[in-house]
Point group: D2
Chain length 338, copies 4
């Protein structure tokens, strides 16, 4: 970490900062410039330091981290890409994994119908929400365990591994009994109680970026799970909140190569939430694969106009099949398969 | 709700939308313009409708809500301002309530010292975190129940009611045993499991706006608690995430009069998180009161440079006392007391 | 346009709005709901109306446009994609056009060297700034007309048409004497004096999206040029300002399919400004082509470390050649050529 | 400036950076940590350096400025606040200056009526647009010189100095013939050609923050004018673009104390553009004064419902008079007069 002192900082103030740093067991490297003094803090455990504490000291102008505040999630920790094996489906390897299914599990029939349709069109993992975080208390909140049972049945019929959302630590056990991947939604990216609990599991975790999480915060949240001992974490770009009103969110395609540079974790792209409109899902999915995403998650509904949630961004099975056809040559163009 | 059809929408597509709306029990009002057909949906329960489902229908261009998607939180529900009485301290009345104390309860001594100092300077409620949501798994996570006990002791000594954060439904009971107000942090604004559980309590709830929540989403989250039966909800503006890098967040001062127009709930301003820097806390607190805030929450620490969290934005007791002196004439200028 | 009256709007207030609308020569369609009255305004010239004027009337809650506020730029105006022919290079056709060259023209030698290098690697248009908008008054501001002469010489040697920036109406003539495409930079997207002057030209105009322009505002700015009579306009997505600090801007990949739906104008992607870092340029360029961009603009410098501007996001000629190799199969995957 | 090398940077790469820095005439201070090497650049002219050029060098991870990139605009340049005298009205002194008048000058009658009304209610400067930047080419673009003549007549009748917008360098002379303060609008904050031309004038300049300009960029734009020799610059906070849709912009109240810390220039607040809605103007104006603004600019129209621009955010003369009454005690509360 680097601490920049104010232009008129007193020698005593510089000394106080140095003493504090040394008291924490770090070595100090001092640069006295014409205009300002700069204090470098040297040590491998920089991620344990808190810049803001130093900013409260008299005479300090600002601080800058030199190293990332996360460790296990970083590229420095592992040069090799993490590959997560979910019942034989490998996320982070040469194959682009496609997770598809309805936003919410609405009934046994609709789920089974959708599961067979997406399987036929080439999906490799089945998605479906049983516990649903909804912005309105008056909206459908999910079928709960009943939905989980239908997901398990759909897996049995199609062979597709299942991913579904977990909203609270108490649900981990029951969701884990049915699902192959535990999904953390965008509103829970910084639900640290939930993340810590997931760190003690051995199940793969799918961690969505919050709608206003920075990339660094997303990787810090991954660090919560990883540092707890669960190394099976994939992160998901699903659009961030910006001023642009024509799309529900702005899909941050930059985040894909940035995360690939900074971390070894697999990256999933969610073009449905990242755009909010079904007609934009295929082009943005293709963009994500071209930029280096390892997997795609989309919402498919037999009839989006009667969907209980996220209808506007759901594909029909026919449109999903079309998207898969368009996606295959793009995957090939970047040296991967679908 | 209003549904705008595409320019080239087929009569059959218009009929399908009309039939769907009527099937849900709403009346339809049709406007056929030169360029487009517009479908108005008439009914008091508009907040139960989901615009996105209609956007998935063929021929639909866009939808617009006419009424707010929340009901109990709205100004239409109550023209009179809600006043919450916490042990005699009235939030939402003529007095500006000041909540002050350390970010984290670090020890019995520091808490008691701070509590007495803020009481003396005029604070009316004591704040302090026992369960702390931290972005790094390597940071101090709070003293837990031990911290709650110190808060209760500080209340006994000073007479100040106590507010502290609750992070998960399981903690509600224990936190509720000690605290007078249950705080929901910015990372839990859309933790619906937690909000639903708080709706079944009778304790006052302090709901922070998420760093990227819209005002409407904040009031929807309040609606979760209110619709569960707990009418003692205050909302808090604490800064939103923007592109400006010089401050940690951008305090959205507009939100104060906007919420006053839209809702009857009391509004608290948090200029510490809303700026991230102690030297900006007093001017922004004064701005918030001038704009109509009912209460102010600030962080005070005997020595911010050794604070275990949020040091850069914490006031010393002396600076807090100065802020209180500056705040008093501003409160008076808007016809209130401090 | 639709005008939603407040819940408690008086009949007189509704009448006043109706009279105002009819006075402007539009027909009115009135919907009286249980809760609110809604006034629909019917007429083909909706883009001439100003919603905000009605919002100032007593009893009005909000307004919503039904049609886009632009006309010539819209898809309704032309179902067929506009193709702009620049000396035989067709922008908006099946071939992905690549515009490459240095950020600033620094000297005759460096420009000619770069021009030959990008030509060899497959670029079809040469870019280079002679008049430079710089955020610091102490930075290099461009060679001016001298730079334009070097660009013309480079065109003569390589056969590549030339694009360069024009910052003010007075420069149009001189820049137009040398350049084949006139570029409007992101800080001038809403410089209406400049846009109007360009509307009177016959030269192709390359219009960058402002760093905080909405897509609608970008198309409104295009409308300024188009409505003046100059139909040769291409728009450029170059990243928008968001809260994410790891990249200089957030490339809005959604904007590409959105603009394709809303407008017939060709779309260029600028992954250099859209990311701010050379290592991200190739993956984001590939993403843009996969999403449907018609052209790519990138910065190439023989030695980016000595570049007088934008060094961090400039490619070396070798890296540019690599990017072109990676881009070709992606273009093919979406049915286009490079 | 500080340059942080990558963890695996080669000694040769460090040497290259050092040689480059020394070649530019700066001294280097090297810190070799366990993990990384850090290069400090020492010298008073840091604002002449470009961080991005170094980021393009092999082995460099990131750079950080130590000093601000502006000089004349900075608090280091002048501890004393700049006070601008406009015909006896002092901006930046103990009196809160109020600039009021219509968005656009629509006719002689309406301007004179408004001028007398705002004068009577206590305004000290008259505003009114003659050259109008409008997002639609189909909207009213201002009366031009005719409008300027009416402004001059209104000044003669009321004694109020006049502020009006200048959109392009060619207009400076004519606008300067009539106006007392030249206003640069939010869409021209980074129109460097215009800024440079204004730097050669002796007239006071009112510089609006762009809707997505950072505070640093705003002060860099002020530096363009100041470094040209014109020291009469005031800056204006007018709301920034954020994700919040209920207000047109988000008034950044933090910016007021931040700019006061960083710069000696007077600060004006524009709560009309900063909110977009007349009912929010008074509370946000009061907030701005409480936070330390030196002046307020608001839009007043005899009948906002027929305003040719910005009707929704314009005050009637009666509402303006009410705002002035509410503002006076707030000004007093912060030790100033109105």
């Amino acid at each position: 970490m680097i601490i920049v002192m104010q232009q008129n900082a007193q020698p005593k103030q510089v000394e106080d900062v140095v003493r504090r740093v040394e008291g924490l067991g770090y070595k100090v490297h001092l640069s006295r410039g014409e205009a300002r003094t700069i204090i470098g803090i040297i040590g491998a455990d920089e991620h344990l330091l808190q810049p803001t504490a130093f900013e409260a000291m008299d005479g300090v102008e600002k601080t800058m981290r030199v190293m990332q505040p996360f460790k296990v999630a970083s590229r420095d920790f592992s040069q090799e890409n993490t590959v997560i094996d979910v019942g034989g489906v490998k996320i982070g390897g040469p194959q682009i994994v496609v997770m598809a299914g309805p936003c919410s599990v609405e009934s046994r029939e609709m789920l089974l119908e959708t599961a067979h349709a997406v399987k036929e069109a080439g999906a490799t993992i089945l998605r479906g929400g049983a516990f649903k975080p909804r912005s309105s208390p008056y909206s459908f909140q999910g079928l709960g365990e009943e939905g989980l049972r239908y997901l398990a049945e759909a897996r049995e019929q199609t062979g597709l591994p299942v991913i579904t959302e977990v909203m609270t630590p108490e649900d981990i056990e029951i969701v884990g009994d049915y699902a192959d991947i535990l999904q953390v939604g965008a509103r829970n990216t910084q639900n640290y109680v939930l993340l810590r609990a997931l760190g003690k599991q051995n199940k793969p975790v799918f961690l969505k970026r919050g709608m206003s999480s920075t990339i660094q915060e997303l990787l810090m949240s991954a660090e919560y799970i990883l540092s707890g001992g669960n190394m099976h974490v994939m992160v998901c770009e699903r659009g961030i909140r910006t001023f642009e009103p024509l799309t529900r969110f702005t899909f941050d395609v930059n985040a894909i190569p940035v995360i690939k540079e900074m971390s070894h974790l697999p990256i999933v792209a969610d073009p449905a939430h990242g755009t909010g409109k079904w007609s934009l899902v295929a082009p943005v999915a293709m963009a994500a694969v071209a930029a280096g995403a390892d997997a795609i998650m989309v919402e498919v509904h037999p009839d989006p106009t009667v969907a209980w949630s996220d209808g506007a961004q759901s594909l029909t099975p026919a449109r999903f099949a079309e998207m898969m056809k368009a996606l295959a040559p793009v995957a090939q163009a970047v040296g991967r398969t679908l």
